[in-house]
Amino acid sequence: MNLEELRKLREKGQREMMQRSDTSKYRIVVGMGTSGIAAGAREVLKAFIDEINTRGIKDVIVMQTGEKGFSSREPVVEVFEEGSEPVLYGNIDPEKAKRIVEEHIGKGNIIKDYQIIVGK
Amino acid sequence: MGKLVTIKIDGKEIKAEEGSNLLQTARDAGFDIPGLCYYDKVSPSGACRLCLVKIDGMRGLTASCTVKVNEGMNITAFDEELEGHRKAIVELLISEHKLGCMTCEVDSGCGLEDLAYRYDVTVDNLPFPARSEHLPVEATSPVILYDPNKCILCERCVKACYEIQGKGILSFAERGIDTYVATDLGGLWVDSNCDGCGECIQACPVGALVEKPSIGKARKWEITKEETICPYCGVGCRIEVEKKGNEIIRINGADGPANDGRLCVKGRFGYEYQMNDSRLTTPLIKENGAFREASWDEALDLIADKFTGIKNKYGSGAFAGLASARCTNEDNYVFQKFMRAALGTNNVDHCARLCHASTVAGLARAFGSGAMTNSIKEFEHADCILVTGSNTTETHPVIATYIKNAVQKHGAKLIVVDPRRIDLVKYATLWLRQQNGTDVAWLNGMMNVIINEGLADEEFIRSRTEGYEDFAAVVKEYTPERVEEISGIPKEQIIEAARVYAQAENGSIVFSMGITQHITGTDNVLSVANLAMLTGNVGKLYSGVNPLRGQNNVQGACDLGGLPNVYPGYQKVVDPDVKAKFEAKWNAKLDDKVGLSVTEMMDGAGEGTVKALYIMGENPMVSDPNLNHVEASLKKLDFLVVQDIFMTETTQFADVVLPSFSSYEKSGTFTNTERRIQLLNPVLDPPAGTRDDWQILQDISNRMGYKMNFTSAEEIMEEVADVSPIYGGVHFKKLGVEGVQWPCKTDDENDRGVLYLHKDTFSRGLGHFSPVDFIPPAELPDKEYPYMLSTGRILFHYHTGTMTRKVSALNSFESGPYAEISPELAETLNISENDDIRITSRRGSIVTAARITDKVAPLSVFVPFHFAEAAANRLTNDALDPIAKIPELKVAACSVEKA
């Protein structure tokens, strides 16, 4: 590894992040720190994947990340959509996850009552 | 001594060594800073926080015990704040401490009690409630009692056990307020690996750890203390005897040159025999097969008459005498002088014949001097120590601590070569398990590797030695492959051991009877010497060839001429000039032939050529090989005199038994295994009716017409100095606590002798390489006697058990005979733990309890030789090394069956 290789790798990564948004309209990122998991994030992640598979949705990927710090709102899920502000959902459970897939991913409707109101 | 720097404590300027311990420095300068966890023999903990001081430039308060002195330090040791905190800490300690001071063993000698007094802390003025619930006292050890309620968790015992003794039996268990000192995995003390050395007790500043045998015996203020030398093994530990009247209350380790205050279980707890009722206090004469008490005059006259008669009838050659490795140098000098000058024979020997005769012979040939080349405390600083044929932990426990220190504190590499999985194996980098009696082979194998890999010290070989070519030619034949076949040691291990030892900056070899007690004992020793010379590991600090001598004064008994071939100071009896010198000094006609060795004496007695035997403080009826033969021989004697402190297995065959002094009662000197002559102090009064060994001999001699006029041990040593050059500079006045290490040839007060031998030049000039070929043991297992028998000592008993078996503390650790057999053998023969088994050799048979352990090799049996009721020496082989006449005690073939 040298600086040049690092630069290439960085640029490739940044490109891929963008490309990922090209191929997948949505990116669902679940906070999978211990706090999230302790509050049920694992079940939420599974629910997202199951629901997406069940519905046969193609243009969405589900990813994990660490914790954002909203302990009181765990599990926390962020939905990214190309060209839009990311939407942050809090206190998500498997049922709510299914609804997010149905409403937000499926129909493009942000589910406001899951949104973490703090911020933005 | 490091650089002197100036520091200031409470305004006073003090000069101190740079890097020295601040607390110690302050105390030495008269600042009585309190502190309970500081112990100068272990690393500082900084745990009790009493020695806190203020140091300019350092934040907060600092424990002075953890600080090293630096130039310009400015210290506040006492002010209101510090003293306030100290009082608070004492209050906290007292609130946790079971206050049973009035019944506490250490009352008036307790660190915490002193501080409570100093800071006026009492139960009544404690700011908090004292602890009311108490934990159970741990009293299961035979010798140590631990009261957790008195424990202040200073960690001194834990560190003493690990850092000093290298054992690590103790550790803190649990944490916080629940912390306590536990053994091993936290079970009962008695079930632990604790061997009762009591180093922990000595380290304890309060009464949490005390000597069980001493409980209730005396208050501190009734006790007086005197120092002398431990009566047991060849280490020569200095002891502090606490006594009330003429009774020993306890023994502590004192700061002697060989032990630094360390002791083993025998040294600390093995004194009870001293108060035993069966002590001999009057001469006994055998009449009609039974002993009767006699007056000294009657007994001595009888001996003088008998001896004169025998001398007249059979000549001087009919006498033989066993000097004693247990008696003082002075006793031994007078003994051999009596035998040589009064009786006219060189037939004087002693049990050194059975332990290190081959060492003396071998090292004399290789180096010119048959003693340990280096000193005990040097072991701690060797980079590599090769221990072979020495179960050091049990036979020389305090020396073992320095070996362990080398490994644990300084990262030394330890190589153990031993057929048994001895304790030191735990500390070893490498353990080579050879077949009994194959030592020349593996030693040659190591040297083969060293030469082939270019690891030999060529400069040393060139400039300091001779005979290399012949030697190398023999070694060439001992390839690792061949050696593996002979010795059973995998060749990789031989190669690795060769590399480790040869590449060490300072390699030290330690050996003992596993090397010497073979028909090839002298060969073995020569091989060891070859190995040291090949790598240049002799004649310098922290290295050398170090035979560990077994008994407290076995070195001295040899030095003082208790041998058939030499006068005191290893002056040869066959040398006419030497003989002439002694004839002049002693004013007597002396024998010009080499006398009989121990085994030869027994043969002579059996054959009727030896008519009278004089035994001073030895017990051949347990210690000698092939006891059935010894017994028959003793019975054949016309006259047998035995001097001892107790009746023994040997005294029963005596015609006269003479009661003498014990070690604690003696004046005189012992010479320890590192050639150090140390002064004894008669700490106890001898019982009425007993006489010192040398006095008895002098009395008989005078009655026989050969006059000796010694009035004290000191006078005897003056004569020794006069006739024996290596003791030429040895004078009682000069010895002090440090003693001197022979050779010490000048009277100069600063001539303390020689720390390590053969610097620059060997005693014989050039070191001599001997070509040595492997010869198998005299007797090997066969169909009839399929197992390999070996014997040795154990930690808790000493030699023939005359003393130790009268000590209940030691008996609670190990009370009687047993035989170690392997789990494999036990299974084959369907033997369970503690089953009685019969062990038989061509010479005899014993019945003893089986102990199943993987210490011994699968087809081997090990029997400790201390126990007369199942005496290992009924089985051992008396085949001799042709040069040193040492019997092959370490190898015999035997059969085993369920009894």
């Binding site: 720190g33 914790e67 | 907060g60």
Partner: protein
């Protein structure tokens, strides 16, 4: 793309409101919004418990600041049509009181959550996939290491870190650059860098969060440190209670080795460095640096005396650089953005940002990162949303068991290392534990001492025995047996324990006692003199009585009383026999009519 809603409707999702069917109300609202076609204009949010459970279900409407109480689904149609559509609140369901005003105020503050934060250490946490090194690289990962290795001397790095003003984030606040310089200046062929991931204070969990969410930033920070001080080996000591953090870091180390950021000749330079994880096994004291070293060596976590300091003689007696997770996490940012940028954040003495863990009686629990110098009030109220359930703020505990409790009047103090010490607290790892009026400060002090005494390693006398005695004194007071002179004893012993203990645990363990004695002495006096616990926590000091008027003689209290001290019969109010009562509070909890009162 969402339009900005005109109204925010906060429906209480507390357990009590849910049990009163607040979900039905929420559903009904959605239904009505849809019916009225204004679902885009109204944002409905379910919140945590708002506090006044007895009024539930409750609902807040912003920006109108209207508080609805005791809602039923049938109320919703009118509220939506009149209020949401026409802007006329439905007065008969609205409650205006002290409490509701406070709740409304607090809800407002929710929106302040982000405004005051500056994310440096946490910048990647919750954004990137911690198990994918390429995502870290995309965020400029390992660029700082690359730049340092290829274009800076160790001296220059030390200089940069020194000028940045970064101080140790693990508690003491020792200047990081100076520490690095010490270790760099020692001459020894073997040096180590160690990361203390044994999370300092209970109540602080930013280290875990960083390790789980952005493990590579620690590897990078440690590598830069190793290069600077001349070490080739590093250890991260993580508590075994953090299995996920261990797993993520293990994975990250593997990745870093694979990509050549750990190992031989990193960035094609002479610098080689590798990292190993060491795990604890449940001992708080191992967060202390010398205890941590002992633990890495495989021993009991007993602290060792200092001097010698680890910088001179640490792990296996070798010079050792020890920093905590958050400190290392800052390094790459300082290298990349320059010390000037870092030093521009914060106060005169304390630079950069600090991560705080908000917990206890605070609405928005979690991790936040703010510039040094932010006030406690901003932390607790603007960002943390204040105390939930309408309770009154009493104190904030900073620095965990090593820290102190700070009362309301000091909340406007800007936070830095020095100001907190002056207040009798300390920065510690950044644990912020909020306490409300239901917290008894004496009992809290006792709790902390209970904690520290059971975590004391037992090596030194003042900590081992002193904490037990301090705890015993507090216990005595809490149980109503305190005497006035106990306060002097407490203070004196606290002082001695602080000054004489071997390590940080003992030296700081008395802080919770000292700070509560300083700010809440009246509570101590009440316990001792009046046998009163105003928070009604200290059971020995609390008397339960049954209010005759409220009692419906249902007998539930008597049935549940563990000592059978409540008697009564149908139609007659029940009575508690105070001689037998053990003040366990069971009756209080089970009474369906709130007929039992507590007095102290």
């Amino acid at each position: 793309m969402a339009t900005v809603p005109k109204l925010d409707v906060l429906i209480c999702g507390g357990a009590s409101c849910i049990s009163n069917h607040s979900h039905d109300i929420k559903d009904k609202i959605f239904e009505e919004l849809k019916k009225n076609g204004i679902e885009d204009e109204v944002r409905v949010i379910e919140t945590g418990c708002m506090g006044p459970c007895e009024l539930g279900p409750v609902m807040l409407v912003y920006p109108d600041k209207v508080f609805y109480q005791r809602l039923k689904p049938s109320d919703i149609e009118t509220i939506v049509s009149d209020h949401f559509v026409k802007g006329r609140p439905v007065e008969e369901k609205v409650l205006v009181s002290e409490t509701t005003r406070a709740i409304i105020e607090k809800g407002q503050q929710d929106t302040d959550f982000f405004k005051k934060q500056t994310k440096v250490v946490l910048s990647n946490c919750g954004r990137i996939d911690p198990e994918n090194i390429e995502e870290y690289i995309s965020e400029n990962g390992y660029a700082a290491l690359g730049s340092v290795l290829t274009s800076s001397t160790p001296d220059e790095v030390v200089e940069t870190i020194k000028k940045s003003g970064l101080r140790g984030r693990g508690g003491g606040g020792f200047p990081t650059g100076r520490k690095w310089e010490f270790v760099k200046n020692t001459t020894n062929d073997q040096k180590y860098v160690v990361c203390n991931a044994d999370e300092g204070d209970p109540g602080a969990f930013m280290d875990r969060s960083v390790l789980e969410g952005d493990p590579h930033c620690i590897i990078e920070g440690m590598s830069i440190a190793a290069y600077t001080v001349g070490a080739n080996k590093g250890y991260v000591y993580i508590r075994a209670e953090y299995p996920l953090a261990i797993k993520r870091l293990e994975h990250a180390i593997e990745e870093a080795r694979e990509y050549g950021f750990l190992g031989e000749n990193i960035f094609e330079t002479d610098f080689s460095f590798d990292l190993e994880i060491r795990i604890g096994a449940g001992a708080f004291v191992c967060g202390e640096e010398t205890a941590l070293i002992a633990s890495i060596e495989g021993e009991r976590g007993n602290p060792r005396p200092r001097p010698p300091f680890p910088a001179i003689s640490g792990l296996w007696g070798k010079p050792t650089l020890l920093n905590n997770v958050e400190t290392y996490a800052n390094i790459r940012h300082i290298i990349l953005k320059g010390w000037e940028w870092y030093a521009s954040i914060g106060t005169e003495t304390s630079k950069g940002t600090k991560v705080f863990a908000l917990s206890g009686k605070i609405k928005n629990t979690g991790l936040i990162e703010v510039p040094m110098g932010t006030t406690l009030r901003e932390l607790i109220f603007d960002i943390g949303g204040g105390v939930p359930d309408g309770k009154k703020f009493k104190a904030v505990q900073l620095g965990g068991p090593s820290g102190g409790c700070v009362p309301e009047e000091y909340l406007d103090t800007p936070i830095d290392y020095e100001t907190l010490i002056e207040l009798g607290a300390m920065m510690g790892s950044g644990g912020v534990i909020v306490m409300d009026e239901d917290t008894c400060m004496v009992n809290t002090a006792r709790f902390f001492l209970d904690f520290t005494k059971s975590e004391s390693c037992g090596k030194c006398v003042p900590c081992r025995v002193g904490l037990v005695q301090l705890h015993a004194l507090l216990d005595k007071i809490v149980k109503g047996n305190g005497e006035l002179e106990d306060l002097d004893k407490l203070e004196k012993l606290c002082y001695s324990v602080k000054k004489t203990s071997l390590c940080g645990l003992g030296q700081t363990a008395p802080n919770p006692v000292l700070s509560t004695l300083r700010y809440f002495k009246d509570e101590y006096l009440e316990h001792i003199q009046d046998h009163r616990c105003r928070a009604k926590v200290c059971t020995n000091l609390v008397t339960y009585t049954i209010v005759e008027d409220a009692c419906r003689s249902c007998g539930i209290c008597a049935k549940n009383c563990p000592v059978d001290c409540i008697s009564g019969e149908k139609g007659v109010p029940y009575v508690i026999n105070q001689d037998i009562c053990i003040s366990c509070g069971t009756c209080y909890d089970v009474c369906p009519f709130d007929a039992i009162t507590t007095e102290s």
